[in-house]
Symmetry: C2
DNA sequence: CTCCGTGCAAATACTTTGCAAAGCG
DNA sequence: CGCTTTGCAAAGTATTTGCACGGAG
């Protein structure tokens, strides 16, 4: 039983790598993390699987941080804080009612659009960096 | 008087191009817009001036949309809606008190970070695209 | 004369893709 | 077998940079 969820071993390893860390990793991070245990892993495979996992709805993008896309396997509703010095990414949880349906509806009406989701990111300096 | 604000003529043209449109343009858009009037404009100049304008605080990034960075010369506090079909970008104005200082403070305390600004973007389908 | 801005082309950086080989059911 | 996954390298796309020239003060 090398595979769960019909994942290939490598896809599983990539998914686990994202799930088991809080760093919201980049492709490079995942690649370098797994390379020692999976010596024949290639960068293209990480890119390809990330796109597959994204389409499956198991992973989402945090956005491009310092030129590299960062990923998150926590699909629950939450926001992020990104440090503009060290580029670490930290989860931020606001009340679930912070963005109520009524806000979506209100904006939708006003702008004539259909809103499916949103992305809220805070920027600043983290606790480990000199201000 | 070819220059205002100590801008070179090209920097001025680039800044005006962003200011005078609502499309939140990409580098390519600006380049193709200005190329007819300024035949010896080069793409590198657009990139360089956008970074200068950004450092000057006259322009800010809307984020990367469909692989290209988009810019906004409206520096007032507002959010954006991005259509995931045609990639148009529309301004969204919430009440100014939507993000009060107290929320910044609250998150800052909770996460041990110093928040400087935030970015709120809504995604979905615009009125011109089929749902 | 000096500085800033610029065209041009080369260089980067990140990501995607074509293809043949390998893996799995 | 037939479909999926993969390594590898090449290609693609967006952006940055080195350099020498050119114009403004």
């Amino acid at each position: 039983m090398l595979q769960k969820r019909n994942f290939s071993a490598k896809r599983e390893a990539i998914y686990n790598a994202i799930s088991l860390t809080k760093v919201h990793p980049s492709v490079e991070w995942i690649y370098h993390k797994l390379k020692p245990e999976i010596p024949d892993l290639s960068l293209g495979t990480v890119y390809r699987n990330l796109n597959v996992l994204r389409e499956m709805g198991l992973v989402k993008s945090v956005g491009v941080v310092d030129g590299q896309e960062r990923f998150d396997a926590d699909m629950s509703q939450h926001s992020h804080f990104i440090c503009t010095k060290c580029f670490c990414v930290i989860d931020v949880r606001l009340g679930n009612d912070f963005f109520s349906d009524s806000i979506y509806d209100c904006i939708s009406d006003e702008c004539g659009v259909y809103i499916q989701y949103h992305n809220l990111t805070f920027y600043g300096v983290c606790g480990s960096c000199p201000k």
